[in-house]
């Protein structure tokens, strides 16, 4: 128990430290971009949020499929925790992207591929969570939820390559295996972005782990209520 609390507090301390370091790098260390001015600093929030929401839906799909295979309730809890944290990050990704686009592109939204597929991913998250909430528990719910998550995972891969496949206004890929061809960025910007991605990934992991604990507690409450009801039935 003590070990769990210590490791949790250490994780929280590292996350908080990385967040502060990110903010210092974003607002103090990184130079102002010549063409966009200070608004480009919002990309140090937008890109990491996009990253975690895309990785999260892949994680949801893997955990959902693994639950169907292994029937381990912890995998189901993990899928829900990642989905709920991912939908928050997805919503923030869309909002920060729109608020960046307004002064730079002079429009809140365009119908280009990267934006549209990102919006679809957000709706897939919402569909996954709504479906799980409204459909009665059972094997069918798990199967359909897993299918929704897999569609989301495929969509996240399309989002990743969308800017290169359908070249429009959105900047090209700068992160990951396909990044750095046309969109190579200066070292100070690149390093700041890398630190921001790590910090947001840690934040995401911390919040998702907290959501996981809540899910466990929710299951405990259901089990305790079931026991209480059964005991009540026996007595009457």
């Amino acid at each position: 128990m003590l070990r769990t609390i210590l490791s949790r507090n250490l994780f929280l301390a590292v996350t908080a430290g990385m967040t502060v370091l990110t903010l210092w790098m974003v607002f103090i260390w990184a130079p102002t971009e010549t063409e966009q001015g200070n608004i480009y600093r919002s990309l140090f929030f937008h890109v990491p949020l996009a990253w975690v929401s895309m990785v999260s839906i892949v994680g949801v799909a893997v955990a959902s499929l693994a639950y169907i295979r292994f029937k381990d309730i912890r995998l189901d809890r993990l899928a829900v925790a990642m989905a709920e944290t991912g939908v928050v990050c997805g919503a923030l990704m869309l909002l920060t992207g729109m608020m960046w686009a307004r002064p730079v592109w002079e429009t809140w939204w365009t119908g280009e591929a990267k934006l549209t597929t990102a919006l679809i991913m957000f709706f897939i998250y919402v569909a996954y969570l709504m479906f799980r909430s409204y459909h009665p528990a059972g094997a069918q719910r798990q199967r359909i939820a897993a299918v929704i998550a897999v569609i989301g995972a495929v969509d996240s891969l399309i989002i990743y390559v969308a800017a290169d496949l359908w070249q429009r206004a959105h900047p090209p890929i700068i992160l990951g295996p396909a990044g750095g061809k046309d969109g190579a960025i200066a070292s100070q910007f690149g390093l700041t972005l890398l630190v921001a991605v790590i910090a947001f990934t840690l934040l995401y992991a911390f919040v998702a782990s907290e959501r996981y604990r809540i899910r466990s507690a929710e299951d405990d409450v259901v089990e305790l209520r079931r026991l209480a009801d059964a005991s009540e039935g026996e007595r009457s």
Binding site: L12, S42, L92, A228
Partner: protein, 179 residues
């Protein structure tokens, strides 16, 4: 999510906000940014751009060298029709002369990023948006942290309620009997 977690994350956010009021001077960049109009240029015998001069809004004359190689001078200049030419000194040193001459003749303002008198980039002036888009940055920053902390707060409330419910159910005689 316990109270200590919330406090730690809140302190992190507050510290970061302390950096925000200094936004106009925000970045201590190693390079400097200049706006102005091209007034002249020098070329090598091969017709390649070597340096150029420009005058800023205060009437000061500024001279910048351009360079090729690893730290090549980057260009992002538009013609009268608005088509943007993006290149650098290593690739198109002669075309750079033509583009700068075009800007000089049209009195089209440019933004130069320079370090130690050497231009790192020469781009179209961004219509003064460099200073005015801080409001959007502030909005993005605020929305991100408000939403994030709002979610964390909801989680902490939910966890507290669940812990109370678990304690209540465990204390109930039915659960105790079953155990």
């Amino acid at each position: 999510m316990n109270m200590r977690s919330l406090v730690a994350l809140t302190i992190a956010a507050l510290i970061s906000y302390a950096a925000l009021p200094a936004s106009p001077g925000l970045a201590q960049s190693a390079s400097e940014v200049f706006d102005g109009v091209i007034t002249g240029y020098t070329t090598a015998g091969t017709g390649e751009l070597q340096s150029f001069t420009m005058v800023n809004a205060k009437g000061q004359m500024l001279e910048f060298k351009v360079q090729a190689g690893a730290q090549t001078t980057a260009y992002g200049l538009e013609n009268q029709a608005g088509d943007r030419w993006v290149s650098d000194q290593s690739k198109d040193p002669v075309e750079a002369v033509r583009r700068l001459r075009d800007h000089q003749e049209r009195f089209a303002p440019v933004t130069v990023t320079a370090r130690d008198g050497v231009a790192l980039s020469v781009v179209e002036k961004e219509g003064g948006r460099l200073e005015t888009n801080l409001g959007y940055l502030f909005a993005i920053y605020t929305v991100t942290w408000l939403a994030f902390f709002g979610y964390v707060f909801i989680l902490s409330r939910r966890q507290r309620d669940l812990q109370r419910e678990i304690a209540r159910l465990k204390a109930a005689p039915a659960s105790q009997n079953k155990k």
